[in-house]
């Protein structure tokens, strides 16, 4: 459960309350955006990996050998 903690530095009083509906919606939107961005990034990485593997196979060399050529 998402919470808000209010700390009064003058009285040292702490109050914990639930987020409002709007605040929860805002967090959920940020979560969805973060998940979408992570998923898109993962797809880019996977596509790059597959492309690299296909190229290595076509060339008939290993990744270590490719790195040796580029060093």
């Amino acid at each position: 459960m998402l919470k808000k903690k209010i700390v009064n530095v003058q009285t040292n009083e702490e109050i914990i309350v639930d987020l409002t509906k709007d605040e929860i919606s805002e967090v959920e939107l940020a979560q969805a955006e973060a998940q979408a961005a992570a998923k898109a990034q993962a797809e880019v990485e996977a596509a790059k990996f597959a492309e690299k593997a296909a190229l290595l196979e076509r060339l008939g060399i290993t990744e270590e050998e490719a790195q040796l050529l580029l060093s």
Partner: protein
Amino acid sequence: MATTTNYSWTTPDDTDLVKDGAAAIRTLGSSADTTVKDLNPGTTAGDIDYYTSSTAKARVAIGTAGQVLQVNAGATAPEWATAAGGGEVTYTLLNAGGTALTGAQTITISGIGGYDSYFILVINASSASANSEIIVRPNGDATTTNYYMAGLTNTPTTSYTIGTFASNASYQSNANSIALGKTASDAASQARGSFIFWGGKSTGIKAWQSAGAGDNYGGAQQWNQTVRNGLFNLTSVITSFDIRSSTGNWDNGTVYVFGGSI
């Protein structure tokens, strides 16, 4: 008995006897002496005279070295007073030991009003959810038209490249808060940031600067860093700051809030 126009000094009548002339001159001279003294009440070197009414004056004695002349609290007379500070701001930690960023998505630091400026430091902030931005909201205000900002945002994949830097301008558009930096796509990633704010006692536009960044924990991605300047338009003085995690409850970190005044 005849009198003068302005100060009503007594003068001899035309019919007075010559033998009474000496006494009349003494009376007139005495009146003139009193009036002149009233108009020059100073008694000591450095005294300043000021009007207490349209016709009366009083003296204010010289102050001490370095004092400046000012109007008294009742706005009725001048007085010498020690000059106000010369503009040097001193910051005081308002939340002793810092406040832990745990157990809530929003940590509101309240009871901090009365300062001209504020400095906020957020260290080792982490959320239970990945890709969490450290977000600051003065007075918890989420009105998009109140935030004006421009600066730099960098969202690298796993390392900095020139293509990941972007200028960021937000002018009364979609910002409803101030983001300092975002953790990576791993819940263990942490972010740090700092924020300085001027105009805490103002009921007009205030100014701020911020900077912060997440770490690429274990090579994780989607973290970002920001460096921004901006304005905050709220017709209230500052009484609190919200420190929010954009994606979930905080589970690590500390926020320190300093108040600055002259």
